[in-house]
């Protein structure tokens, strides 16, 4: 298996793109990435998309997007793994290049959530859960996260400490051109906002948006951004089946595989893009990734540990909360952002001396997880 | 063989109805209101499960489940099919829903008695339950309530809680209260629902049964009558020669309103909750349209070991008040 590198990156601002159809958003990001890579020898396409069948009535998206790029004959497929679709699509593309099946893979995550009413967007999130005994209770992703949030608060922290995860994400997003909400948010604003699902406040939850991000992968050279590892793991779907609900088993297992593959330890990670669709999930992700000790992440974030100059720079462009969470696209945004950091082209968001970065993308309540580690190759 | 009863947790006070509509009536103090996720089927299941538990029988041996109601969730699909499935009586079971306004529950009882008496089934369950809908600003809005009770009938034996001595049904074509099929609310004849309807038929059934059995009112420990409000059952009971002491234990309307097809069954269940072995119970229902079913039950020794778990009084005292708007919301009466 040969080494794989990120050759090009494309990012669309997360927003409500009323005028763009889904293939239009895709094309914007894809063409950006191809241009950035300086080559258009793409011979395989992996599309990360979660809810196109519900929101756009669209299946067979691989073919649709290859069509949009005027590439008949292209190997193309849509990858779906709930909210982890982007991260898992990236994983599939890496394997294609590493194995030699593909010499130039294009991965694009795309989602258009503004096409549907908020209730339908909420329903799509709950479609990631087991339907007959979890979704049938009328629970939402916010509700499931809230249950974990309550357990965490009972054991480890104050509500406002977990809430700081959102405040930090917003702080990191200030000035970011592709972020949905590139402005500061105070902890007071977060804690005063109405309850989404007790005890989670509305302002602790990632919003709904449209977006597309793309990455071009090629065999690695002597210099550039290498894909040091990519791993996917799953866990039992229902919280009722988890021995310790506060341990995200899929995250732990995917991370273990990734660290081993990359031959690094958690302490070697210079920055992490984690799945903070709800503040608690960001906190638990940091812990299950082994980047922070169990029970300590909320306090660490509250004390500034996740800032650009903190001990574990996290969500450096705003994460899901402030950069945005266009479901199937999110995982590719994360990887693209890590790549920008390792290239040194993160501008005001740059983490100084970043060499190794991690992206973690989850589907369901941590029932699927894709972890990617990128490494700067210096000649 | 066993019995169970259930009343939902929410209550609407008559004073709250008056606050909104400017009326002054207090035909009952308050009435029971279902939660948005309850209906006649869920009420029936609660009562049925309690009856099965108390009876000690294997539910798969129940040969019939008959639900009497005027608020069945499906116009076509018997509530009994869902209740039977929920309690584990399927598939060797017969079910159907009965309708006879407020006496649908006792109709079901009459037929279960016949099934067991004829030897067709070893056990037959009759349920009377309703989630009665009151037209806003109508007199019946104060009292149209929700609740139900279930009775498992079996051949009289040492393990039965009460045995039936006799029953009698008295029915005529008297259109005092009715609902056409596509209408949401029933209509009624106001004062016509009194003498020519409620009183005439309860008198007819009661007199008929007393004559046939040779009993006098003094022979009974308890008297349960259909209770559309607080006053009617007291009036009809007294006019037949019964006393407040006999009527009171089964008189629940002041606190829960009129549970329609559940009314007499629930009153009977409340009486069984307190009656001592050997006590005689006179129970008479009334259903508009019209008719009455009258029963004489004698309580047996076995009852003392077969009324465990929360009694009806516990469900009645378990309550949360709702305001009128919340009541309308829960009952699906707000146009959206």
């Amino acid at each position: 298996m040969r080494k794989v590198a990120v050759a090009g990156v494309g990012l669309v601002k997360v927003s409500e793109h009323w005028e763009k159809p889904i293939w239009g958003l895709f094309a914007d990001a894809a063409l950006q990435a191809v241009k950035d890579a300086g080559s258009d020898d793409v011979d395989s396409l992996y599309v990360g998309n979660m809810s196109g069948s519900l929101m756009q009535d669209q299946l067979n998206m691989g073919a649709l997007m290859a069509d949009a790029l005027a590439r008949p004959g292209l190997h193309a497929v849509r990858v779906e793994a709930g909210s982890a679709s982007g991260g898992v699509a990236f994983h599939e593309a890496v394997k294609a290049v590493a194995s030699g099946y593909s010499d130039c893979a294009l991965v694009a995550g795309v989602e258009k959530m503004s096409d549907v009413l908020p209730e339908v967007a909420a329903k799509s999130l709950v479609m990631e859960e087991e339907q007959e005994y979890s979704a049938y209770t009328g629970v939402t992703r916010a509700g499931l996260s809230a249950m974990l949030h309550r357990l965490y608060m009972d054991l480890y922290s104050e509500p406002a400490e977990v809430g700081m995860m959102a405040v930090q994400s917003h702080e990191n997003a200030v000035g970011c051109r592709h972020a949905q909400y590139p402005f500061r948010m105070s902890i007071e604003r977060a804690m005063d906002s109405p309850m989404e699902a007790d005890p989670i406040h509305m302002m602790e939850c990632a919003g709904v948006g449209d977006g597309a991000a793309a990455v071009v992968l090629v065999p690695a050279d002597a210099a550039g951004v290498e894909v040091a590892a990519t791993a996917v793991a799953t866990d039992y779907c229902s919280l009722a089946m988890r021995e310790d609900p506060l341990t995200l088993g899929a995250v732990m297992k995917a991370a273990e595989k990734a660290y081993r593959m990359a031959d690094v330890k958690p302490g070697d990670i210079d920055l992490a893009e984690v799945h903070d669709d709800y503040t608690i999930n960001g906190v638990l992700s940091l812990e299950s990734l082994g980047l922070v000790e169990a029970g300590k992440a909320a306090k660490l974030v509250a004390e500034g540990g996740a800032a650009r100059d903190g001990s574990i720079p996290t969500n450096t462009f705003g994460g899901l909360k402030a950069r945005g969470n266009p479901l199937g696209a999110t995982g590719v945004y994360q990887v693209a952002e890590v790549a920008l950091q390792l290239r040194g082209s993160a501008g005001d968001h740059q983490v100084e001396g970043a060499e190794v970065g991690l992206a973690q993308n989850m589907g369901g309540m941590g029932s699927t997880c894709a972890v990617t580690i990128l490494r700067r190759l210096a000649p | 063989m066993g019995y169970g009863a259930y009343v939902p947790i929410y209550r609407l006070e008559a004073s709250e109805v008056n606050r909104v509509w400017g009326g002054v009536g207090v035909p009952v103090e308050e009435k029971s209101v279902v939660a948005p996720d309850e209906d006649t089927v869920t009420i029936s299941v609660e009562a049925a499960k309690q009856a099965v538990k108390r009876s000690g029988i294997d539910p798969s041996e129940i040969g019939a489940v008959y639900v009497g109601t005027e608020s069945k969730p499906y116009a076509v699909k018997p509530s009994g099919t869902i209740v039977a499935e929920a309690i584990g009586a399927t598939p060797s079971v017969s079910t159907a829903d009965y309708e006879f306004a407020c006496k649908a529950g006792t109709e079901a009882m009459q037929n279960c008695i016949a099934l067991v008496g004829s030897g067709m089934h070893r056990y037959a369950m009759a349920i009377g339950a309703d989630t009665a809908q009151g037209r806003p600003a109508d007199a019946l809005e104060y009292t149209a309530a929700c609740g139900g009770a279930a009775f498992i009938f079996a051949e009289r034996g040492a393990d039965t809680v009460a045995y039936l001595e006799a029953s009698y049904s008295y029915v005529t074509d008297t259109p005092d209260f009715w609902r056409r099929s596509k209408e949401m609310y029933p209509r009624h004849g106001n004062r016509f629902t009194g003498e020519p309807a409620y009183f005439k038929h309860i008198h007819g059934a009661s007199k008929g049964l007393l004559e046939e059995t040779g009993y006098n009112p003094e022979d009974f420990d308890y008297a349960v009558f259909h209770q559309p409000n607080t006053k009617f059952p007291i009036r009809v009971g007294r006019s037949l020669g019964f006393t407040m002491e006999q009527i009171d234990p089964g008189l629940l309307a002041p606190k829960i309103g009129n549970t329609y097809a559940g009314s007499t069954p629930v009153g009977l269940a409340a009486t069984l909750d307190v009656a001592e072995p050997g006590a005689k119970i006179f129970a008479v229902s009334y259903g508009s349209g019209s008719g009455s079913d009258a029963f004489v039950f004698t309580v047996q020794e076995a009852i003392t070991g077969k009324r465990g778990g929360p009694k009806l009084a516990r469900f009645i005292e378990r309550k949360k008040y709702v305001d009128y708007a919340t009541y309308l919301r829960f009952r699906g009466q707000i146009i959206q």
Partner: protein, 131 residues
């Protein structure tokens, strides 16, 4: 809502009927094809305990489609007296009254309907124990 999908789960939902692994005795709800503990594929019917306690809970204030008319409602992770855990709504209670360790018992309730003309879907929920 698919009628076959609803019908298939009636008995497990109505009667809280799960499965017990014949290999190691572990109990599951709902049923599954492979035991998570010993890998066996042989199971027998198992009737769950009908009472238990709240482990953690939330209040749903923005329901998904189909559940709008019930908002707000409590959903909890419960541990039944036989050790089996499951997710369920908790009803007949004000959200402020719910607490970890609260004793609850199973009840039969409506879950949702398919409009005014489709089927009514029933299932289990839990309420504070009525002694």
């Amino acid at each position: 809502m698919s009628v076959p999908r609803y019908w298939r789960e009636e008995v497990p939902r109505y009667r809280l009927l799960g499965k017990e692994c014949t290999g190691c005795g572990t109990r599951f709800f709902p049923a599954r094809p492979v035991c998570t503990v010993c890998g066996s594929t042989e199971f027998k019917d198992y009737k769950l305990a009908e009472a238990g306690e709240v482990v953690t809970w939330t209040v749903i204030r923005n329901p998904p489609t189909g559940f709008e008319k019930y908002r707000p409602y409590v959903v909890a992770l419960l541990e039944l007296d036989d050790g089996v855990r499951l997710l369920s709504q908790v009803v007949d209670v004000d959200p402020e009254e719910v607490h970890a360790g609260m004793r609850v018992e199973a009840v039969f309730r409506r879950v949702k309907e398919d409009g005014n003309a489709g089927i009514i879907q029933y299932g289990y929920k839990f309420r504070p124990v009525v002694e």
